[in-house]
């Protein structure tokens, strides 16, 4: 009991918000493509590319904001490969997404050597990270100051985009067209909306979000690059999209839940529980959330995701 109450303090909540950034940003990318009818398994890889180039950009220029810019550019470039295979070549979304993940893991690990001259990971104490934003006045209010102030600019951006995204999705013509394309591409074509264009834009947007997510991970939460450092966060973000049925606000809620799991992981580090079990927490939480979502979906007789179905396309692989 004491452990539970002790854990639920302001610092833990602040830590939740701090750690939610990467997942929230990536899930906003996943949400966008899901609405356009593209099941985006590539989030993980795009995020990893972002994480690498954020460090590279910061290392080269000494300016973390230029690092963020480079992260976004690089993730968008890789996203364009994904878009080309999925949209133009009609490739299987799942297989193409996995290919992007393998490409990202290989490419970033490969590039560590020529770019930084090390292997596996890179850390430079002189390299600056993203600054924390201290909101004047609010910062000095007890409790509220801890909760609302002192996060990275990308964290504020993530929350803002989630909230604005809600309005965009339901009240702006972009959102309506995006949903239309996902729901019925043929019908969207018949009213003169270019399905190809919308899907490309959605995938590029997911590249932007994943680039930001990777940057938040590698030059804000920590200031280093480690191979494979996303460690399944892209898939956890995908589960958040499922939880929220691709609606921004519920997706945000799911992300906070997962952020809490990460915060708990940090908190319990060094306690009596072996570190390996503590580190399992986010993954176990994700599976538990999936089960809860699926039970709810079954009771309501709906699919797990509103638009795309997570299946291999017939004839994509399993037929020789």
């Amino acid at each position: 009991m004491e452990l539970l109450f002790g854990a639920l303090d302001v610092a833990l909540l602040a830590s939740t918000i701090r750690l939610v950034g990467p997942i929230l940003l990536a899930s906003l990318g996943g949400l966008t493509t899901e609405r356009a009818g593209v099941f985006n398994v590539a989030l993980e890889g795009l995020m990893l590319v972002g994480a690498f180039f954020a460090v590279a950009g910061t290392y080269w220029t000494g300016n973390p904001f230029l690092g963020v810019g480079l992260a976004v550019l690089a993730a968008v470039a890789v996203a364009l490969i994904f878009a080309f295979v999925v949209v133009d070549l009609g490739g299987d979304q799942v297989v193409a997404g996995l290919a992007i993940n393998i490409l990202a893991l290989g490419l970033t690990t490969y590039l560590v050597k020529p770019v930084f001259g090390t292997t596996g990971s890179f850390y430079d104490p002189k390299m600056p990270g993203l600054p924390e934003i201290q909101i004047p006045i609010v910062h000095d209010i007890p409790v509220l100051g801890t909760l609302l102030s002192g996060y990275s600019p990308l964290t504020y951006l993530a929350f803002a985009v989630a909230l604005v995204g809600h309005v965009l999705l339901y009240r702006h013509h972009w959102g309506i067209r995006l949903r239309a394309v996902g729901e019925s591409p043929v019908a969207a074509g018949s009213v003169g909306i270019s399905v190809r264009r919308v899907r490309y834009l959605a995938i590029v947007a997911s590249g932007v979000f994943c680039g930001l997510a990777g940057a938040e991970l590698s030059i804000s939460l920590v200031t280093q690059f480690v191979q494979g450092m996303t460690a399944g966060r892209g898939f956890i973000a995908l589960v958040a999209v499922m939880f929220g049925r691709a609606r921004p606000i519920p997706t945000l809620a799911a992300c906070l839940l997962f952020g809490f799991a990460y915060a708990l992981t940090l908190r319990l580090q060094g306690g009596s529980v072996p570190p390996q079990f503590v580190a399992m927490l986010p993954y176990v939480a994700t599976i538990a959330v999936l089960v809860a979502v699926a039970v709810r979906a079954r009771r309501r007789r709906t699919a797990l995701l509103p638009v795309t179905e997570v299946v291999l396309e017939e004839g994509s692989i399993a037929t020789p």
Binding site: H172, E183, R301, E314, G315, T319
Partner: protein, 556 residues
């Protein structure tokens, strides 16, 4: 009928009778020498067509005659291989839907092109959303829709979500969208296929109204009665060519049918009288998601047709009989054996053959070989296995027999089934299901989307099946097919059987009212009363009216 004399018919148009309206104004649309080929198949071969302002023009022909393709060319959905189109006296290059829209041409498709989760207003304004500051102006969108729907008498609720609408309302939304885009040449592709006769009447009220305002309405149909009653002029297509141009007022069904089929009316296949035998399929009080308390029986040697507006429980009925979905209440017997809780496999063993409605999605595995497709459901039986190993010799013998009997292309048995044409794919399904004698055959939409020859083949196969003493349950959206093949007809409405008729009793009005859920009309009986077939007695006093026809617009 031979395709070779068709061009002669076109060059000397028999009885071309332009209406006065058409003579007075230059034709709204004139299409000349239109050709469209799909590989070796000519869908449309050198067709001329004139459409006048202020007319309701019917385009008639059997499945695969090319009527929908011709209209898709005009609407910019499909490209043409040769030909010229003039709109309002000017050469028009229609390269896409956008071009057609700019010329005021819009098409309402058979499959609605709507977005289920968006509201009616959003569906209607998408692509041209009214904006206020940064966001979509919902009030303005709502106003536009209300004004327009009042002007044309097409009632819809602008705030309703499209997924909650019935078929009739969906169609009105589609027509409104076309009108909103300023279409004055409106193409309706098989508009009445999904409607009850009463809803169809309402639709034709709208088309008359539109024509009176000087617009052009073209509708594609193969229902001759409605064409004669509601069109001004009629163009008949057969095998991609025009076989007749007629004025509706001066023709009759026989003449139309001859032009359409190319021989003297064979609207009905020959059906030998058989004496129905024992009951082979019996449903007692069966409920399942989408089905309520269904009583139904089929006897050996008879065909029972299931009629109804699409989405009223037909596929649920097929699922619950085949065992893909379990009944939540009631019991099902196949050939005297209770199969209520039995698996799909056990039901097949008990004697059920099943031709599913969606042959490419359910009835075949497109990427598996034709051979693999032919043994599904029999692979675990005597013909397919020996000690859990596939019996390749037995399978080869069976495949050879089926291929011969059902004229399946035998040289490509190892090619994927996806490479088959619609008709040949259906032969594979039929061959697999009908090769062995089974007491019960369940056939769902067996002729949907296949050409005339294949349709005839399928219908004959079903009738042969009947004469060998199998009991058939035929689910079909094609009322002519139901009437032509069935000994008895039951009508489904909202998952309930609302009436049972003999084929003779099933005229449009009776059937239509039942399909709309109106019971108690003279000539109908209560559902599935064993032994009452053949007696023409009207059962009891007319029952209370369950729901007005408009009800089906409300929700599905």
């Amino acid at each position: 009928m031979s395709a070779s004399d068709a061009p002669a018919l076109r060059n000397q148009p028999q009885r071309e009778l332009p209406t006065e309206a058409a003579e007075a104004a230059e034709a709204a649309v004139s299409m000349r020498g239109i050709v469209k080929r799909y590989g070796p198949l000519t869908a449309v071969g050198d067709v001329d067509l004139d459409l006048a302002a202020g007319e309701v023009h019917a385009l008639v022909g059997e499945n695969g005659a090319g009527k929908s393709t011709l209209m898709q060319i005009l609407a910019g959905v499909t490209s043409m291989d040769a030909g010229r189109i003039r709109v309002r006296g000017r050469d028009a290059a229609i390269r896409g839907v956008g071009d057609a829209h700019r010329l005021g041409i819009a098409m309402v498709h058979q499959h609605f092109m709507l977005f289920p989760s968006l509201t009616v207003a959003e569906n209607l304004t998408i692509g041209k959303e009214p904006r206020r500051r940064l966001l979509v102006d919902r009030a303005a969108a709502r106003r536009t829709v209300t004004e327009l729907s009042e002007r044309f008498g097409l009632t819809v609720d602008p705030d309703a979500r499209v997924r909650d609408l019935g078929v009739g309302a969906l169609q009105r939304v589609e027509i409104l969208r076309a009108l909103l885009r300023g279409a004055d040449i409106l193409i309706l592709d098989e508009p009445t296929a999904v409607l009850t006769p009463q809803e169809s009447e309402r639709l034709f009220g709208v088309t008359r109204n539109l024509a009176a305002q000087g617009r052009t309405v073209v509708f594609v149909s193969h229902r001759l009665e409605e064409v004669i009653s509601h069109a001004t002029r009629i163009t008949v297509l057969r095998d991609g060519r025009v076989t007749a141009r007629l004025a509706a007022a001066e023709t009759d069904i026989r003449e139309l049918a001859r032009a359409m089929v190319g021989r003297d009316v064979v609207l009905r296949l020959e059906r030998h009288e058989t004496e129905p035998g024992r009951t082979v399929l019996e449903l007692r009080g069966v409920s399942a998601p989408g089905l309520h308390d269904v009583d139904l029986h089929v006897r050996a040697g008879e065909i029972v047709g299931v009629a109804g507006v699409a989405g009223n429980g037909q596929s649920e009925l097929a699922d619950v009989i085949s065992g893909v979905v379990r009944a939540t209440r009631g019991s099902i017997e196949v050939d005297g054996r209770d199969v209520t809780g039995a698996s799909v496999a056990a039901r097949r063993v008990a004697g059920l053959a099943y031709i599913p409605d969606d042959r490419f999605r359910v009835g075949l595995a497109g990427d598996a070989s034709i051979r693999d497709n032919l043994i599904m459901g029999r692979h675990a039986g005597k013909a397919g296995q020996r000690r859990r190993l596939l019996d390749r010799a037995g399978i080869a013998r069976r495949v050879e027999r089926v291929v011969g009997a059902f004229r399946i292309p035998a040289d490509r048995l190892d090619s994927p089934a996806r490479t088959l044409s619609g008709g040949n794919a259906q032969r594979v399904v039929l061959g697999r299901e009908l090769a062995d004698p089974h007491p019960v055959t369940l056939a769902a939409q067996p002729t949907r989307g296949i050409d005339v020859a294949a349709t005839e083949f399928v219908r004959r196969a079903l009738l042969d099946r009947r004469s060998t003493g199998s009991g058939l349950l035929l689910v079909s959206a094609d009322l002519d097919e139901i009437r032509g093949l069935s000994d008895r007809i039951v009508v489904l409405h909202r998952g309930r059987i609302v009436g049972e008729l003999t084929a003779e009793e099933a005229d449009d009005t009776t059937l239509g009212l039942l399909m709309a859920g109106v019971t108690g009309t003279p000539g109908t009986r209560g559902p599935g009363r064993p032994g009452s077939v053949g007696s023409a007695a009207v059962a009891g006093a007319p029952e209370a009216v369950v729901g007005a026809p408009e009800d089906i617009d409300g929700s599905r």
